[in-house]
Amino acid sequence: MHHNYLDRFASLGSPIHRLDPRIKVISLFAFVLTVVITPATSFYAFFAYFCLIMAIVFLSDLPLSFVFKRSLVIIPFSLMVGLFNLFFKPPIVFINMMVKSWLSVLAIVTLSSTTPFNVLLSALEALKVPHIIIDILSFMYRYVFTLIDRVMKMERARVSRSYGRLGLKQMSAVGNMLGSLFINTYERGERIYMAMVSRGFDGQVLGRTHFVLTVYDAVFLGYMVTALLLIRIMVVRW
């Protein structure tokens, strides 16, 4: 089945791809944080943030259509909540929500499509995310696509047997379906564990990437922080 592969463009070789992933994660946080705490009425600032993230997207060789398409995923949801609010709150609240959520998503898409998943995990671990969570994430990533495939196939089989109906009776069929998938999955987890133990696994997952900061990374971080501070201070006042 067709998947939205998570890191389809992650192996390109652009300047952004070559950055230390820790720097990228920190920059993402700085960017989103600054965007979120910018006052709602400073439209120039939002435009400047947009230019900043677009500059990075251009540097990264990612196809623009891909970035926009991925970032538009959140629009229906934002629009729903936003339009609902439009009835009760002044329009500025609505504009504020849409602009901020979209800018943040642009930044997230840029990070996640310029960094291979395992590298990103190593970066998160280097940034002190508890390593049990990192281990769970890496196992999850390894099995999530086959599981989605199986769920979709089971669902297709169920739909074709029940003519697409989903009433109470079918709900219990869905329950059995997911229940059997769970048992299957759990037993697979146990088998994986036994296979790992027989190869010498003792609870430590090894082989994470180690990173070395270069001058280039420091320059990029400096550029990001300066740009964000400048926009935040100058443009907001103006």
Partner: protein, 312 residues
């Protein structure tokens, strides 16, 4: 229900991030204390399972659809703390790779849809379970816990939006709660069906099913306190100074069209009670009780119907 960045203001998302980080740190400690290193691969695969199960949509009343959240399911199968880590991982992946929920709002999302289900949901489940000896009682506990967890998640989300000044309290809290009373039924029915299947095939996979003493009886006061606190909080959320609205007035953005609707929907209140916030609280409480009674009877009748059918 995943909140993107920009929907919550700084005080709200920062509070939720700190709260979630605290619970996650505790969960990390708890899971590594009684550590079976076996749990890591299993937890990873279960996280992938929860993620995949969330792809299935089921219809709710009137053409809308919902999907499984799976927090209570994870808690009933792995215990509250391992489940907390599993749900945290699911939300991290969703935020980073599927644009589902924001980065600063991650704590809020983990709290609303993860921790409420895995921790509060688990203790509700344990409480109900401790009053029954049968599997039927266990399933009933699963049903109640998953229903309440979805409704609570919606109320928390709504309160966070209200505290942020993004949505008006008097509208968003009742609206979200009402919609999720029905979406919660879907979650409850499917979760119960899944657990009942697992009970039949591999009982041992249900957390603590063999050790009766593990189930908590002390949880009820905690749960009741949470609910009372929520009901009491809701009128306050609207009286917080609203920065956005002020900014809008200064820049004369204030929408004129919205005023008409505002007056039409403003009063979620009982007639005859003078104090506005008091009557909102009472109305909210009565609504909650009614809805719970409805869900309770619906759940019971579904369970007994299934029992009868399988007996005949």
């Amino acid at each position: 229900m995943h909140l993107p960045d920009g929907f919550l203001d700084a005080k709200t998302w920062a509070t939720m991030d700190v709260a979630s980080a605290g619970v996650i740190a505790y969960a990390v400690k708890k899971t590594s204390e009684k550590f079976e290193d076996k749990q890591v691969p299993v937890m990873g695969v279960v996280a992938a399972f929860v993620f995949a199960a969330q792809m299935l949509n089921f219809p709710v009343l009137g053409g809308t659809s919902g999907h499984l959240v799976g927090a209570v399911l994870a808690a009933v199968l792995l215990g509250p703390w391992a489940a907390t880590l599993v749900m945290t991982s699911v939300f991290i992946i969703q935020a980073l790779f599927f644009q589902d929920g924001g980065i600063m709002a991650l704590g809020a999302n983990i709290f609303n849809m993860g921790i409420i289900g895995t921790v509060a949901g688990y203790y509700i489940f344990s409480y109900v379970r401790s009053h029954f000896d049968s599997d039927k009682g266990l399933l009933f506990g699963v049903f109640v816990a998953s229903w309440i967890s979805v409704v609570l998640a919606a109320v928390f989300t709504a309160l966070e939006l209200a505290f942020s000044g993004t949505s008006p309290t008097k509208v968003v809290v009742p609206a979200m709660a009402t919609v999720h009373v029905f979406i919660g039924l879907g979650e409850a029915i499917i979760t119960t069906a899944i657990v009942s299947f697992i009970l039949k095939v591999r009982r041992d996979l249900v957390y603590g099913v063999s050790e009766q003493t593990k189930y908590e009886k002390r949880a009820l006061p905690v749960v009741v306190a949470i609910i009372v606190m929520l009901i009491l909080l809701s009128p306050f959320a609207s009286s917080f100074p609203d920065g956005l609205e002020k900014a809008a007035e200064v820049h004369s953005f204030a929408g004129k069209a919205s005023i008409v609707l505002k007056t039409a929907m403003a009063d979620y209140a009982l007639p005859g009670v003078a104090n506005a916030s008091l009557s909102t609280i009472i109305a909210g409480a009565i609504g909650a009780v009614l809805v719970f009674a409805l869900a309770f009877t619906a759940g019971r009748s579904i369970m007994f119907k299934r029992k009868r059918r399988s007996a005949s």
